[in-house]
Amino acid sequence: MSGFLAVLVIVLIFIVIFQIAKASEYVSILKGEKKARQQSNRINGFLLIAFLVLGLIGVYYCNNLLKGKILGESASVQGEGVDTLIYVTLAITGVVFVGTQILLFWFAFKYQEKEGRKAFYFPHNNRLEVIWTVIPAIALTVLVAFGLKHWFQLTSDAPKDAAVVEITGKQFNWLIRYPGKDGALGRRDFKKIDEAASNPLGMDWDDQLGKDDFMATEVHLVVGKPVKFVIGSRDVIHDVGLPQFRMKMDAVPGIPTTLWFTPKFTTKQMKEKTGNPDFTYEISCDQMCGSGHYSMRGVIVVETQAEYDAWVAKQPLQYSLAHPAPAEAPKADSTQKTVAANIGKP
């Protein structure tokens, strides 16, 4: 019923607008084309300048309203560079934005048709054209230079002592695997995947490196310690999106990818910083992956080394879950902490 009413109201509004429009057409014929044109010119000229002023106020207002809702400070060391670059770019593009919009609407208003005004025949001017080719080119070169400096830092190899976490996307959740004490992920083969046998990643149990690997439902990270994510997918393309850390990387079946960063704040600190008791570091899937894409949520907990160690101690090894029989836990060479060289793929 209310839907019907709404449609009725819209139709009525349409009819009213249409009648007014038709009437004004007749009026303008009566008034003479020239007069009508002058009048509509004045109105639209005024509206253009009003749009400029109100629009700029609106931009300011919108910023005030929403700036508190976007991410605060970057939660990773690497993300600080991204933020700086955003501010530099914002400054440059912001000035250009305000300047050109003002010129556009101001010119339109100022040079609206007036009786007796003659347009200025001005087909080209080489000096001007060179100026506005060179200046943008210089500004962009600066941005490219800054940008690439950060880009190469962000995509550089992870430090040798970085922790390693493997994240594998599947429809529609994340499989998280830790390399265990040896620091190396065991080999995997997608043909060995067997959910029923507690082997959702297809781990190759013949590989000794895999025997101390464990899987978790959340990613736990140590604050201040670099971590490298080894990212993959079991089915379609997903994407590990880490908005608070300013990081993102696709999860592509068959092609492992990596990213690394250093978390700056624990989850607890972030709750205080943001004043939001529900604050959670989330992994959002940022690549369309099917009907559950929007629900492909992962959770990251950043904590102190002690909390982390306590958590690790509680995690059951995947090997033992997959071999529930008397299977003895493998004897891990716990004294030696090898660096993650094996990224988990043959």
């Binding site: 607008i17 004004s24 253009l48 962000l154 089915d235 994407d239 068959g254 959670t280 099917g290 949520r297």
Partner: protein, 603 residues
């Protein structure tokens, strides 16, 4: 240029012959050959336009439906169930339906409306009229081009009604999602129909594009050297070149996808475990598809925007009563954009695991493309500077175009810088960027074109008052809708999400999403007003009483008010000057057909 002369004289002969033909028997009265399988470029233009309008209504309506979901995730709309059936059980659309709508919205608007509807309409209408030709180089191919588009439309439309629904993997149709029926219900027959439709569409684009290029290269009237052509024609030229060179690559990508789906090949597939079993495919690369797709995909965005740029340049010059500023620089920047458009595609792929070193080149080239864009903006600004501007709906939309092109182009500079793109990729920031710079701007260019050349198409005017209302609501609405989305994107809010309520990082925007959705509905209603104005004016609009209502210099206004097939009843006029002699030597405008006077100043 001696062979140009011979070319022209040959043409003269051809046209002469055509003339007789025209005068002797008017066999065009037949309904089928006049309105359906017409060979007249003007009729084909109208066919493209009206088909485009129909698609635009459908595509925009889809966005209203999914915006309802985003704005009011907890509400139910029983009427949705009555039109969508089990796709909207209980009045709330399912995620599957949401993704199908989003995918179809993107496909329809990018390809069917802003590619076929925009350049199909105006290239067809304006190329022969503005270069002084009786019709396209091959009117038959032109007719085929439309009918291939029509077939593509039928197939796409049919895919909306199949049991498992249309394709739903996003307009970019990335495999493996789009390759595996087990991965998504929309990847069953929906994707096959999508691929077939798009293949037909590519054929249509190639037939059209080759025709545009050959017409404007070979069939210009006497005196119409390349540098005397209006900028509209230059932009259609580069648009067609982009399309002809990049659509075949897209087609090859689609064929490989089709083979992966049905012939057991592994171009894009490797190491996949789905629906409880491991697939045999090994060695393929899902990223390969993205390269093939974006090799078209990026040029495609310029295929959409260049015609709009051309028309806006023309309309701004005419309504400011001033020559376009920096004509050669405008052509040069179109050319630069055209070349660079082929060299930046991987900026859509910065986070796919692309080699960072390679990525660096794409950053450089991407930001480089902002230079010709900036040149164009400054030239438009200078064009209206010290003009004597008449605010017709067409000129208002052109001014709006410049405004939105600036706003959206600047955010391209953010995204082109790969370090920033890491954070913003696949968020609402990208949605804001490309809707403003492409969606809104291209629509503005198209509206400018429609309002400006409607009198040429139908011999009548559209209603001005509705035109003004249309402009103001659309301009304000577009900014209200897309501007705040930048903030959502800065917060990392991902695109293509059905529901954000379970996310602590993104659920702070509930109120904003609601606001945006309401504005969407208002703007949509206003577009219907435009559609009404369009069709009403075809039959009832104020009649044109003079040949050249805008006092423009270009050739299309030297044709009769309702030109027949062949455009000029007598000889095709000869051209003596460029198309931008406005306010020169104290004269309001000097038509292109007027010989250079003895005392005329050089420009």
């Amino acid at each position: 240029m001696s062979n140009e002369a011979t070319l022209h004289s040959q043409q003269e002969v051809m046209h002469g012959a055509h003339d007789h033909h025209d005068h002797e028997h008017h066999h065009e009265d037949n309904f089928i050959s006049k309105y359906v399988f017409s060979l007249d470029h003007k009729m084909i233009a109208k066919q493209f336009l009206i088909t485009g309008i129909v698609w635009a209504i459908i595509g925009a309506f889809f966005s209203v439906v999914f915006r309802l979901q985003l704005g009011f995730p907890d509400a139910t709309f029983p009427w949705l169930e009555s039109i969508l059936g089990h796709w909207a059980k209980g009045g709330r659309i399912t995620p599957e339906a949401y993704y199908a709508l989003v995918t179809m919205h993107g496909t329809i608007l990018v390809f069917f409306v802003l590619t076929a509807g925009l350049s199909g309409t105006f290239s067809n209408l304006l190329i022969p009229l503005q270069v002084g030709a009786r019709d396209m180089a091959s009117p038959f191919m032109n007719c085929l081009s439309y009918w291939f588009f029509f077939l593509a439309s039928l197939v796409m439309m049919a895919s909306l009604f199949v049991q498992t629904g249309p394709a739903s993997g996003g307009w970019t149709m990335y495999p493996p999602l789009s390759a595996l029926g087990d991965a998504s219900i929309g990847s069953k027959i929906g994707v096959d129909l999508w691929l077939i439709s798009m293949a037909l569409f590519v054929v249509s684009q190639l037939l059209g594009g080759l025709n545009y290029i050959s017409t404007l290269l070979n069939m210009r009237t006497k005196g119409m050297s390349m540098t005397k052509m209006p900028l509209t024609i230059w932009s259609f030229f580069f648009t067609a070149v982009l399309g002809v060179l990049s659509f075949p690559v897209l087609l090859s990508g689609f064929i490989l996808l089709l083979m992966d789906r049905h012939a057991g090949t592994s171009f894009y597939l490797s190491d996949i475990f789905i629906a409880g079993k491991a697939l045999a495919n090994e060695g393929g690369s899902a990223i390969l598809y993205q390269h093939l797709f974006w090799f078209l995909g990026h040029p495609e965005v310029y295929i959409i925007i260049l015609p709009a740029m051309g028309m806006v340049s023309e309309v701004l010059a005419v309504s400011s009563r001033k020559p376009i500023f920096g004509y050669l620089a405008m052509i040069g920047s179109l050319f630069a954009i055209c070349i660079l458009a082929f060299l930046v595609w991987a900026h859509h792929m910065f986070v796919t695991g692309l080699n960072p070193f390679l990525g660096a080149f794409f950053v450089l080239l991407t930001l480089l493309i902002a230079v010709p864009s900036a040149i164009k903006v400054f030239n438009w600004l200078t064009t209206i500077w010290k003009g004597n501007i008449r605010f017709t709906p067409a000129s208002l939309f052109s001014i709006g175009f410049v405004s939105t092109f600036i706003s959206g182009g600047l955010t391209g500079i953010w995204l082109g810088n790969s370090s920033i793109d890491i954070h913003l990729h696949d968020t609402y920031f990208v949605i804001a960027h490309f809707h403003i710079v492409m969606g809104v701007s291209a629509f503005f260019g198209m509206f400018a074109g429609i309002y400006h050349w409607f009198p040429k198409m139908y011999g009548r005017f559209m209603n001005n008052t509705i035109g003004y209302i249309h402009f103001w609501v659309t301009l304000i609405g577009a900014y209200l809708i897309f501007w705040p989305m930048h903030y959502e994107g800065m917060a990392g809010m991902p695109r293509r999400y059905f529901d954000y309520s379970s996310w602590t990082s993104f659920n702070q925007f509930g109120g904003l999403n609601q606001f945006i959705s309401i504005v969407v509905i208002l703007v949509f209603a206003t577009q219907l007003l435009f559609v009404f104005n369009f069709f009403y004016s075809i039959f009832k609009g104020r009649k044109l009483t003079e040949q050249n209502p805008w006092k423009a210099t270009s050739l299309e206004w030297t044709t009769p008010i309702n030109p027949g097939h062949g455009n000029w009843p007598g000889e095709i006029p000869e051209v003596h000057r460029w198309a931008y002699d406005y306010s020169k030597d104290g004269r309001d405008f000097i038509p292109q057909t007027e010989p250079i006077g003895p005392n005329e100043s050089a420009h």
